[in-house]
Amino acid sequence: MITTADIEAWLQRAAALLEANKGYLTELDAAIGDADHGVNIARGFAAVVQKLAAQPGQPLGPIFKSAGMTLMSTVGGASGMLYGNFFLKAANVVGDRQTLTPADLLTVLEAGRDGVVQRGRAEPGDKTMIDAWTPAVNALKDALAAGQPLSAALHATAAAAEAGMRATIPMQARKGRASYLGERSIGHQDPGATSTYLILRALADALADEDAKRA
């Protein structure tokens, strides 16, 4: 069972990991964007964690909704809107529940990913965060179908996101600011796919930790 504590641990861990990679993400964005992704996303997740700390004991729906709204109102830029939407859609599918099964978690990630696609209209191969989200969601689905335990399944998820992130390097951007560069976007890793990987890496690590504590 995945608890609200697990989800809060995920968001805290993501905030810390994004803060640690702030400079790296901004550098990636400087190469093919406008050099603000790291600073903006780190500021946003820090605000998410702060908001959650102020309102402990909430069910999952309000947690995700708070995260989504906070990202939307503190990040700015394309990724703020897309990640914000991710969590708002996630909130929709969990409602007032306090726990999730692994299958529920898959539903959450799928709904969130679909929310990103709905707003951003990116397709796989457009060199965006979708190139990390989609392989990750597919990997989770496959792993759970194969009967893997949650912690192993989430590591597979993060690994798929990482591979998806690396796969953006040779792509030519067709969405977002990098698309203005045309062929000059080739050879650079997409900053949004990178932050998506970091967020999923945080998810795998956080739930492994919580599992370890429970074990």
């Binding site: 050099a35 700015g76 830029g77 703020g80 939407n85 600011r177």
Partner: protein, 357 residues
């Protein structure tokens, strides 16, 4: 980094505070969330015109708040789109009952924020429409990119839409006119030097003493191409020809239906400039180029238009949509009809644009 700023994370707030102190007769400022509205907002019965975008492009948009132009402006962090809660709060405050027109520059972040804000405002019963500005001919296609960026044409759209709203146009009329102005605007910019964002503290790109960047946007992003430095006449010719030789441009944009609350896909086509077209010519400084140099550019632009039989009926020369302290310029031409010229000439009273009143 050399700038007249204090703490890096206070830059936008302190500039807004300065505006509030300087122009209490024209505007009011909200800091939480950040937006700027007309001193007399909401104006009952008038369509409210709201725009916004990243900071660092001043006077756009805050400097255009006031009688005859914007009712509200929502500044994001430097070069970062504003967030939906800002736009929502601003729209709520300026809505005078005749609806709110959101003017959106075509950047993914801006578009997503304004779309969300439109939905939120609609949810509160506010009648909303959106208009997209995407005039940068440096971006060639819309199929394989996020589409043309909104640049200099934004200033022209905001002036004419603001005048239309002031003149009592309905929301649908104001939106239709604004979209028409946008579709008839084409811009192209260049940089002599890079700019430096306060948070980065160093120039966004490196440009050698003998290089210039052609086809830049307004966020210090790399341009279309880098070329060896040439003189002002050659630069002007290059920018003007990109604009004047640009073919038809078709793109699909999402337009908000204030009745249903749904998004409709609309196909828009910009027609190339043709002999005999009447235009507003706008020569803009990227922030660090003094107005004196803009006149050398205008001189050549006027000659080129004359040769091509494009009739400049109005002009605007100065720093109106900038990239911090970047040196360089952009040229915008907007094909206008009599209605647009009349509204361009209509009185405007804002910190940065003022005439007739």
């Amino acid at each position: 980094m050399k700038k007249l700023i204090n703490a890096v994370d206070a830059v936008v707030r302190e500039q807004m505070e300065g505006m509030a102190l300087a122009h209490p007769d024209l505007l009011r400022v909200s800091l939480e969330p950040k937006y700027i509205v007309r001193a007399d907002a909401p104006v009952a019965g008038k369509v409210a015109v709201v725009s916004g975008g990243g900071s660092g492009h001043e006077p756009l948009h805050g400097g255009f708040v006031g009688y005859g132009m914007l009712d509200g402006a929502c500044p994001g962090e430097i070069f970062t789109s504003p967030t939906p809660d800002q736009i929502f709060a601003c729209g709520m405050e300026v809505n005078g009952g005749a609806g709110v027109l959101l003017i959106v520059k075509n950047y993914t972040g801006d578009v997503l924020s304004f779309e969300t804000a439109a939905e939120l405002l609609h949810g509160e019963g506010v009648v909303v429409r959106t208009v997209l500005v995407d005039d940068d001919v440096a971006v060639k296609d819309s199929l394989y990119t996020a589409g043309r960026r909104g640049v200099g044409g934004t200033v022209i759209v905001e002036k004419i839409a603001g005048a239309a709203a002031e003149a009592g146009y309905s929301l649908a009329q104001t939106a239709a006119l604004a979209q028409r102005v946008s579709v008839n605007s084409r811009s192209m910019g260049m940089a002599l030097t890079s700019c430096t964002t306060p948070s980065a503290g160093k120039p966004t790109f490196d440009l050698a003493e003998n290089e210039i960047e052609i086809g830049i946007g307004i966020h210090g992003e790399p341009g279309q191409r880098r070329i060896p430095i040439v003189d002002a006449d050659a630069i002007t010719t290059l920018l003007a020809e990109e604009i004047l030789n640009d073919g038809p441009y078709t793109r699909t944009v999402r337009s908000f239906d204030p009745m249903t609350g749904d998004w409709a896909e609309v196909s828009l086509t910009s027609e190339p400039f043709r002999v005999g077209d009447r235009v507003i010519a706008f020569v803009n400084s990227m922030g660090g180029t003094p107005v004196s140099e803009l006149y050398t550019v205008y001189r050549r632009l006027a000659m080129i238009c004359k040769e091509r039989n494009i009739v400049i009926v109005r002009n605007l020369i100065g720093a109106y949509i900038t990239s911090l302290e970047m040196q360089g310029c952009s040229i915008t031409l907007t094909r206008v009809d009599e209605e647009m010229v009349r509204l361009w000439d209509a009185p405007v009273k804002t910190p940065a644009l003022r005439w007739g009143i």
